[in-house]
């Protein structure tokens, strides 16, 4: 039976992990570059479908600057239903998280869902106590072909072609 201290720590860790997951969307959508970079470990990996894999803060910063932000483009990376699993270890605490997401964008006839899919994340507790993302693999399961206002069309890629054809879900 876990102690009160351990049970409380687990709840606090889940809340802290959520704060980091939410920091990703808020930082990216509103152009808070340093806050967004602070969501990642120094050696983090981000594999945005259709783009070159990013490894480390320098490449993440470049990827961030190539992405759109408000007020040039208004969009929302909406994360829901995070399933958080935490492993405590003397080598370091680690969490895996599966979340659903939908991305909302502005189109000429109003707001629409541009894409939906899943985030597969690994986070670790850093020396300063903050949970940061070590790996994020976003999966696009469905995307709209039309580009939103102020945003480039989605880069062509095998994942994008599958999603546009509605076959991404057949992978599993």
């Amino acid at each position: 039976m876990a102690s009160i201290e351990q049970r409380l720590q687990h709840l606090e860790d889940e809340q802290a992990i959520l704060d980091t997951l939410y920091g990703y969307g808020h930082g990216l959508d509103y152009g808070h570059e340093d806050a967004w970079i602070d969501c990642w470990t120094e050696d983090a990996i981000l594999d945005w479908p259709g783009r070159a894999l990013m490894h480390g803060h320098a490449e993440l910063r470049t990827g961030y600057r190539n992405h759109t932000h408000a007020p040039q483009a208004w969009h929302k990376h909406v994360l829901v239903e995070p399933r958080i699993s935490i492993e405590y270890s003397v080598e370091g605490d680690r969490a895996t998280v599966m979340s659903m997401y939908a991305r909302l964008d502005r189109y000429t006839d109003g707001p629409k869902i541009r894409a939906f899919g899943r985030y597969r994340d690994t986070l670790v507790r850093c020396k300063d106590g903050k949970w940061r993302i070590k790996e994020r693999y976003p999966e696009i399961e469905s995307i709209r072909k039309e580009a939103p206002i102020g945003v480039e069309p989605f880069p062509d890629s095998p994942e994008a072609r599958k999603a546009l054809a509605g076959t991404q879900g057949e992978k599993s």
Binding site: H26, K76, G110, P111
Partner: protein, 154 residues
């Protein structure tokens, strides 16, 4: 190092604030006037973009509730996600995403996104212990021009 009691209190406060955030959408969408009004301090400010200068105080916020549509006359959902809550003693701020779903005539009654944006909220812990809005600013970043089914002409 904070005590167990203090750490528990932080978690409880965040859960209580989250409950008030959720109460806003449920009571507005389903027409629970008393429940909606209980989300606000007496002198709270509600900054709806469609009301010039916003709504200040309970009487004006109640007027706003009456102006707004509710089920079953109109079916809509004020969806909230990714709340980032920051506590500071007996006050707190929260930044959250929202998007509103409505049925549209042009879509044959099917649901569409009416609008999305961000809520910028300030809360206070009241004397009865409940966390209530002292301010809600609604930043609407995208919206459809077509009125949803059941919308009032404002």
């Amino acid at each position: 190092m904070a005590s167990i009691e203090e750490r528990m209190k932080v978690l409880e406060d965040k859960r209580a604030i989250l409950r008030t955030l959720h109460d806003y959408g449920h009571t507005l969408d389903y027409g629970d006037e008393a429940g909606f009004m209980d989300c606000w301090t007496e002198d709270a400010f509600l900054g709806w973009s469609i009301i010039p200068n916003g709504l200040k105080g309970h009487a004006r916020i109640r007027e706003g509730f009456h102006i707004h549509t509710h089920a079953p006359e109109a079916w809509h959902k004020h969806m909230l996600a990714e709340p980032r809550i920051t506590l500071s003693g007996d006050t707190a701020t929260a930044h959250s995403y929202f998007w509103r779903l409505d049925p549209y005539k042009s879509s044959g009654g099917a649901p569409e996104i009416y609008a999305f944006g961000r809520y910028i909220d300030t809360f206070v812990r009241c004397q009865d212990g409940r966390w209530r809005f002292s301010e809600r600013l609604v930043e609407k970043e995208a919206a459809r021009e077509e009125k949803p089914i059941g919308a009032k002409a404002l």
